[in-house]
C-alpha cells in the first residue's frame, strides 16, 4: 500500500462536521493520552482546540524536552541552481519569471562550501530548481562528492527522483531528503501547478517512499501553508509522516511547516496562516508524533522562531542565503523567497544559548 492509497481512505471525511463535534472534554482527554490516533490529531487541529493552546503547549514542551532535550540542530541550505521547468504560481523560480538563471560549477559549490564550513556547520541541505536537463542526478552526485569534504550530513531538496536515483545519491553520501508536497488536496494542487513536470501529483506524493526504500535515512515532508486550508494540509502532512514511520520504521521522519513568503511572482496566499495557527499545528503534531523532528526555516522571523523553540522545534536553518552562489560571490539576485531571519550561525548559536538551548552543529556522521 502506498501513501496515496492511505490518503484515499480520508476521501469522504467531512472536516467541517468533524470539527463542529469536537468538545472541550475531547481535547483534555487527548492531551492526556500516550498515543494519539490520526483523528485525535485532527481534533487538536480543530478550531475548538485553539482555545486550549496553553495546555497543549505544556504537554508538547514536556515531550520535546524528554525526547530531544534542550538542543537544536542547525543547518543551512545551499542553492545549486535556480533553473526550473515549472510554472508553480507561488514560486520565485517559476519558469516565466525573469531572473538570472544560474547553476554553480562544482568549483563554485566548493567555494560556497568553504564559506559555510567556516561557521562550524556540518549539516547542509542542497537545493535545485526542477530541471532534469540542467541539474541531472549526475551533477548532484558530483556536488555531493565535493561537499563531503566539509560536511558530515548532506540532505537534498530537489525534484522527485526514481528509487534508483535516490539510491545513487545515498551511495554518494546523501542521508536526508526533503520533499514538500506543497498541497495535499489534489484539485488545489493541479490548479497551482498548471504546467511542467511538477504537475504530476502522484509522482511527488510518493517520492518520500522511494527515497526511504532506497536507503535515505532522514525524510522531511510538508505542505506550503497559505496555498490551501491549513488545518487539512497540516492533517495530511501528519498522516503522511505517520505513514512513512510505520512503513519504514528505521528512518527518521520530520516535518517542516513553511508559510508563504513574498517572492518574485507576487502570488497572494489563498489564506493567511496566523502565528497562532502555526503554533497550533506544531503543538498538535508534537503530541501526535513525539519523536518526529520539526524544522522551522528562516521564512519565519527571529522573534517567532525564538518563541517556537520550546514548543517542539528540533531543527533550524541559520546563515541562510537563497541566492545561487550568493555566499562566495556576494551576488544579490532575487532568491526563491524572501527570508525573515537573516542571522548568522554564530548569532543563532548565541541566541540558543541565551534561551537555555544548545546549538548542535553535527548530529550525524556519513558512514
Amino acid at each position: 500500500m502506498t501513501f496515496h492509497d492511505e490518503l484515499r481512505r480520508y476521501d469522504g471525511l467531512d472536516f467541517d462536521r468533524f470539527f463542529s463535534q469536537v468538545a472541550d472534554a475531547d481535547i483534555a482527554r487527548i492531551i492526556a493520552k500516550n498515543r494519539l490516533s490520526p483523528m485525535d490529531y485532527l481534533a487538536l487541529l480543530s478550531p475548538r482546540a485553539a482555545s486550549h493552546l496553553e495546555a497543549i503547549a505544556t504537554r508538547a514542551h514536556e515531550l520535546t524536552v524528554r525526547h530531544f532535550g534542550r538542543a537544536v540542530v542547525l543547518f543551512t541550505p545551499l542553492y545549486l541552481a535556480n533553473f526550473c521547468t515549472n510554472q508553480c504560481v507561488y514560486c520565485g523560480f517559476n519558469t516565466k519569471n525573469e531572473l538570472e538563471r544560474r547553476k554553480l560549477t562544482v568549483e563554485e559549490v566548493e567555494a560556497e562550501a568553504q564559506e559555510i564550513a567556516k561557521s562550524g556547520l556540518k549539516h547542509i541541505l542542497i537545493l535545485t530548481g526542477e530541471d532534469r536537463k540542467v541539474t541531472p542526478v549526475s551533477y548532484m552526485v558530483e556536488c555531493v562528492q565535493a561537499l563531503k569534504k566539509y560536511f558530515t550530513s548532506i540532505s537534498i531538496e530537489v525534484y522527485p527522483l526514481t528509487r534508483e536515483e535516490y539510491g545513487e545519491l545515498a551511495e554518494a553520501g546523501v542521508d536526508g531528503m526533503t520533499m514538500f508536497q506543497e498541497v495535499y488536496d489534489e484539485p488545489a494542487y493541479l490548479e497551482l501547478h498548471p504546467k511542467g513536470p511538477k504537475r504530476n501529483y502522484l509522482r511527488r506524493l510518493e517520492a518520500p517512499e522511494r527515497a526511504a526504500a532506497a536507503g535515505i535515512r532522514q525524510i522531511t515532508t510538508g505542505a506550503l501553508l497559505g496555498l490551501h486550508d491549513w488545518r487539512r494540509e497540516a492533517f495530511f502532512t501528519g498522516v503522511h509522516t505517520d505513514f512513512l514511520q510505520r512503513t519504514y520504521p528505521d528512518i527518521e521522519v520530520a516535518i517542516s511547516p513553511p508559510r508563504m513568503r513574498p517572492h518574485l511572482g507576487g502570488f497572494p496566499p489563498k489564506e493567511i496562516v496566523s502565528d497562532a495557527d502555526l503554533v497550533q499545528y506544531i503543538l498538535a503534531f508534537r503530541l501526535f508524533m513525539p519523536r518526529a523532528g520539526v524544522t522551522v526555516s528562516t521564512r519565519e522571523n527571529a522573534k517567532l522562531r525564538e518563541n517556537l523553540l520550546s514548543l517542539g522545534v528540533t531543527k533550524m536553518s541559520a546563515g541562510v542565503c537563497t541566492q545561487v552562489g550568493g555566499r562566495a560571490s556576494g551576488q544579490d539576485d532575487p532568491g526563491q523567497f524572501e527570508i525573515s531571519d537573516g542571522r548568522s550561525v554564530a548569532e543563532m548559536a548565541e541566541m540558543l544559548y541565551s534561551k537555555g538551548y544548545q546549538p548542535v552543529y553535527k548530529d550525524w556522521q556519513y558512514l
Binding site: G69, V253, G356, K362, Q365, L367
Partner: protein, 259 residues
Amino acid sequence: MTHASDTLLIGGRMLSSRLFLGSGKYSSNSLIPPIVNASGAQVITVAVRRVDPEAGQENILTHIPKSCILMPNTSGARNAQEAVRIARLARAAGCGDWIKIEVISDNRYLLPDNQETIEATRILAAEGFTVLPYMSPDLMAAKRMAEAGAAAIMPLGAPIGTNRGFRTKELVRIMIEEISLPVIVDAGIGRPSEACECMEMGAAAVLVNTAVASAADPVAMARAFGQAVAAGRTAFLAGPGAVEETAKASSPLTGFLHE
C-alpha cells in the same frame, strides 16, 4: 562482601561508582563536568554521531572530565554493519576501546534490534573493543551476546527517553540471576528511587540520561541519582530480610512450648 571493597570490573577497569551517565539533551555541554562531579559517575556515554573533533569548544569530548571512562555509543546505527562502522570511527577519533552498541531500526519506540546487536558484538569484540550492548531484555539474546564477547549486558528498563521507570523488572531479574556478566539497566529510568530499586535487585549499574537532562535542576538530580545508586547497592550487599506474605505475631501461638 563489604561496601568498601565493592568495585565493578568491566574491560579490566575497576569502577567504584555504579552510575553511568549519558551526555545528550543538555542545554549546554558545559553542564557535563558539574553533573559528573555531583553524581560521582565514572563512565559517560557519548553519541559518536555528535562527536566533532574539529569543533573546538563545541566538541563534546572537550567537556568530558579526564577522570571519566569514555563510552562512545553507536546511536543512529540501523544494523550491525552501521554499528561496526561507527565503532571504528570512534576508535579512529581517539575515543578509546569501550563501545556501547545501539542498533535501532524502530524509530517510533527506539527499541533495540537484538539480532543485529549480537552480530555487531561478535565483530567488535573480536577487534578488541570492550563491548557493552544495549538490548531489549531477553535472556537468550543476552546469553548470545555474552558468547559473542560482550563485557556487560545493558537491558532497557523502559524505552529510551520515556522516564517511565523500571518496567522490565521481571525480565531483568531473570537476567541478573542467569547471566554471569554485569547487567546494567539502561534507558527508561526516570527517578532516583527507580535506580535504587534496580541496584537493590542486584543490577551491576544503572545508566541514566533523560532523567537528569530533563530535570529542572540537572546537577541536583545527578547528585540524587548518585546517592540512590549507592544506597541501592549498599542495600543489595546488606542482604535485605525475607519478605513475608503474612504478619508474624509478636506473641506466637506456640510460644508457650518454650516457657
